[in-house]
Amino acid sequence: MKKSIFVIALVFFVAFMILAAFNMRIFGEPSVSEMDDYYIQNAQAETGANNVVTTIVFDYRGFDTLGEATVLFTAVLGITALFREAAK
């Protein structure tokens, strides 16, 4: 009884995802790209680096990189706290 409800829910979910994949935009033609065209045109003049992806990660959107470094630091903090021996 419980297993058949799970099987029906999984079939509905996978059918919904494949139907959405058939109705997406044509692969290879993005609809809006004005922000990325500005980044490609002006990244070399403003920052002086050749790699546009690195300037986006560290200069135009540096705040997200700060959040990601904090997530990595918190994961190491949690693992060190789990494996600590209890003081006798």
Partner: protein, 159 residues
């Protein structure tokens, strides 16, 4: 211990782990010219630590990689990253105040397709080095702590 790795594995590891660390530092340092950067180079250099732990076991590496030194390196990397974000607070947070000026890392790039110049970029190469140090030390601490803690979690003996 009776079961240690064979002679071929130990010899090849001793010859190769230095080159893997140098390749990781190359990818970190040239992050603003070629594909790569801080996170990718730190993951490449941490795989050398994983190779050492697999070959020599947890007790054989204890004099070479200490957890306290690696934890200090990780904290230094994160503090350096946040400090260079606060220096540009005259205009805004995370402002690139060293780009296109005369001093360290201050050349201007030629517009268009060019072979890269290492002296350009502003604060981007310094942030690459800080994040690379942090990712290298964080992955090394994770590998060493989980490998040392797996000794206490072995199968319980029913005596």
């Amino acid at each position: 211990m009776k079961n240690e790795m064979s002679r071929i594995v130990r010899t090849v590891t001793t010859l190769i782990y230095g080159f893997i660390i140098i390749y990781g530092f190359y990818v970190i340092a040239h992050g603003h010219l070629t594909p790569g950067g801080g996170f990718q180079g730190g993951a490449i250099a941490a795989s050398a630590f994983a190779l050492l732990v697999v070959t020599y076991g947890d007790q054989g590496v204890k004099d070479f990689l200490k957890i306290d030194v690696l934890s200090l390196v990780e904290s230094t990397g994160l503090v350096l990253f946040i400090a260079f974000a606060f220096f540009g607070l005259g205009v805004t947070f995370f402002y690139n105040f060293m780009a296109n000026s005369g001093g360290l890392f201050g050349n201007s790039a030629i517009i268009g397709i060019n072979p890269g110049d290492l002296n350009t970029g502003g604060t981007i190469p310094i942030m690459n080095i800080a994040v690379g140090l942090e990712v290298l030390a964080a992955l090394g601490v994770i590998i060493l702590t989980m490998s040392a803690g797996s000794k206490n979690t072995k199968k319980k003996e029913n005596s």
